[in-house]
Amino acid sequence: MNFPGSGIIKGMAVTALNIVGSYFDRAHAKRLITEQYPEERPKLAEASRSFPFLVFDGDDPEKGIRCVACKICEKECPPQCIYIVKDTDANGKPIMRPKVFDIDISVCMGCQICVESCPFESIRMDNIYEVSGYDRFAPLVLHKPQLLKSNAYYHGIRPTEAAATDARIEAARLRKEAAAKAAAAKVAAAKAAAAAKAAGEKAAETKPTQPE
């Protein structure tokens, strides 16, 4: 059917369908997809990201902090919103821990490059999205205490990724241990060999212990 005005009538039918349909769309599936925000909150996807935070292991943020203040993220950050100062020990010697770790989230664009570039799995993306303050600057610069969040929290917001991270850390730890053991064994073996050599001259009977 095509007569003058038919297009308008068709269009009116579509809107009428939507008006009526919105009252029969309780499941919010097809129409009326509005979320009534403060009461209804969206279920965020696991990958959903907002701003970075620092992961710490265990219960004590200061002890368990993974960050070693290597400053790779500071260098890689595209908008340069990370500021890190290395901590020093009593003697003024730099130690592998950040004294200052600030992220200006008014500058941060949530690109996740810091996360990708971190070799120590210590910086991760958060999924909070209610960040605001009454000041342009101070409330939006997150300092170390605000940034530090536990590994349990990380597991809470993105379980799959956190499990993979933990597995990687565990594997790395095992590798490291193995390597250390191997190195120790090597050293021990070398020592033993030297000792054996020395002892061989004396025709010794002792055998060096084998590492597992």
Partner: protein
Amino acid sequence: MSASSSNFFSGTADAGALEVSLGPHHPSTHGVFRMNVRMEGETVVKLQPVFGYLHRNHEKIAEKNSWLAAMPYTDRLDYICSGTNNWAYAVAVEKLAGIEVPERAEYLRVIVGEMTRLQNHTAFLGFILGDMGAWGSALMYAFREREKILDLFEELTGARMMLNYARFGGVRCDTPAGWLDKARAYLATYPAFLDEMEQFLTGNEILLSRLQGVGVLSAQRAINGGLSGPVLRASGVDYDIRKVDGYSIYPRLKFRVPRGEVGDCFDRFMLRLLEARESLKILQQALDQIPEGPVVNPAVKQRGFKPPAGEAYGRIEGPKGELGFHLVSNGTEKPYRYHVRPPSLINLTLLEEMCLGTKIADVMVILGSIDIVLGEVDR
């Protein structure tokens, strides 16, 4: 009404005309775009586009940062279509450094790229209706569906709009479990939505009279102006980089490239609808054929990436047209020269030509039919 003027208070030299500065703060300039328009009555006799209000120094920032650090900035070029922006930059870098891309990564790029095109064209339908003064219904329907695509994006990449998904030699992450099925299921409902939109809009007499015969652009002028994308194809030029360059896995996929005959706003409008349907076909094929495998070339070092010295121009068919990156490397960690060829800006160059002799209300529709994003125009 003769060629009379309405310029009784404007003290310009030409007393017969009314000069209006449309924008930069104007409801329908799609951002901070400004047009100095001279009108006789309501007819436009001169139009001077003024842009740069959203200039963010994109190219220099990229040259100051590392190669990888430019990637999230490309999201912000055309912030509606960040998926294709990432892809175009990655294509240019891969060309520069001669990087192979794994099969699965190519598929994922096509899937994200075509979804981007789909949501861009969907949003376009709403935007242009807004420019015509419809009270947001079309826009809300379009956004309703676009939101669902953005939800898919969020599950895949973590962000709804600023995907930052492509990487040199692949993509950043693999799909989460069940994502492909979800995408397949959602896209199966999409033709019904497009049908609804078509029923809602295409027959509407007011819409037809507002779009048909407005802003006509001949094929020759479109080619001479360097236009690309749906605007060029609406003028009847068969030019789609997906077919011309045959990059990525497009040669393997079956799809058609629509083109119009008249080159007016209505053709541009219809082309978006038709292209959205073709994108759906591509998506179905890509989602069905996607192989297993790595999603990024493990040989490529993303951090501290140093391509060999040289230059390359990589381009893809973005939703708005040819999106190209011209990169010059001097072998260091930073691009020596980084240049963007934004489709929005090039397509905008013929705005005055399309607008002359039309009414002031048409200017908004023509501007809308070009489908610009100021983030890309001003960079």
